[in-house]
């Protein structure tokens, strides 16, 4: 029975590499799914390590339920940064080597990064609408004039243009070159976004970690551990989505090659 269901042994070095790659991908997918599931549970329910964070009744918190996005919104933003930096690195490698093998990781990371960036923007906007207010301003006006939101919006639009451009240019070398230029431009949004709320006194966006963090927003104990866990879970999720998209991109390239030679 065991012999009948056992996986066949790969015969060639290429097949061995492929089998190892599949095992690695599977491990990352399962780890990411598990980490996100644990995070979803810990956001709303108690765990062996502590109770679910609860801001109900806290005088400083206007929206205690929306505040639970605290374990998702910054994590999504960090995973976005990881994705865009990956796109940047692959784009620079492409421009340096002029080798199209670097184009697949660049476009795969950009696509996943754009998804994570969109989710970070949506969750941040909803949270901001609940908790931010400048005197004499409607909440939506406060959110839309927040410097950090504007910087992230520009970064989001640059990568939207990157993805649209890739659909519009047929020549693959030109597409990769233009894409790399857009990616390098877009990644400037990463440090700009990180620094905006730390350097501009007008910004309402709090910073909870690193130099320049707001002392009144600092975390400790279980909520702080959960915060770091959320960042790790979301970066792991990015890696899993990136590997899946990269695999698809390589298959697409192989189909194009075969179609060109047919």
């Amino acid at each position: 029975m065991a012999a009948a269901t056992a996986m066949p042994e790969p015969s060639s070095p290429k097949a061995v590499d492929e089998a190892r790659g599949q095992r690695t991908r599977l491990t990352v997918y399962v780890a990411a799914a598990l980490a996100v599931a644990v995070l979803a549970w810990a956001t709303w329910f108690p765990t062996p390590w502590g109770p679910a964070p609860d801001w109900t009744g806290s005088p400083d918190v206007a929206a205690p339920m929306t505040r639970k996005l605290f374990f998702w919104h910054p994590a999504l933003a960090w995973a976005t940064f990881a994705a865009y930096v990956t796109t940047f690195a692959a784009s620079v490698a492409y421009l340096n080597e002029r080798d199209l093998k670097f184009d697949a990781p660049a476009r795969s990371a950009a696509e996943v990064g754009f998804l994570l960036n969109t989710l970070a923007l949506v969750t941040g906007t909803l949270w901001g609408l609940q908790e931010w207010s400048r005197s004499g301003q409607a909440p939506i006006a406060t959110v839309l004039t927040e410097p950090k939101v504007l910087v992230v919006l520009v970064m989001w639009m640059t990568f939207a243009a990157y993805l649209l451009l890739r659909r519009m240019v047929d020549d693959e070398t030109r597409r990769a070159r233009l894409g790399a230029a857009f990616a390098i431009l877009g990644v400037l949004g990463v440090p700009a976004s990180f620094l905006t709320s730390r350097l501009l006194p007008k910004s309402l966006h709090p910073d909870v970690v690193g130099a320049g963090a707001n002392p009144d927003a600092a975390l400790s104990g279980y909520p702080e551990a959960l915060f770091w866990f959320s960042a790790a879970a979301m970066v792991l999720l990015f890696v899993a989505l990136f590997l899946a998209r990269l695999r698809l991109a390589r298959l697409e390239d192989r189909v194009k090659d075969l179609e060109a030679t047919a």
Partner: protein, 43 residues
């Protein structure tokens, strides 16, 4: 918008966004693999 609505929208957007993207990649992957099999089977 109430706090509860906002929380539902936020967490709903995350779940829907991730699920939709996974479905998109899975569907595209099936189509590309099928096309690849057809091309490789051609004499």
């Amino acid at each position: 918008m109430t706090d509860a609505t906002s929380a539902w929208l936020g967490f709903g957007a995350i779940a829907a966004g991730l699920a939709a993207y996974l479905a998109h990649v899975t569907r595209k992957s099936i189509l590309v693999r099928r096309r690849l099999r057809d091309l490789e089977a051609r004499p």
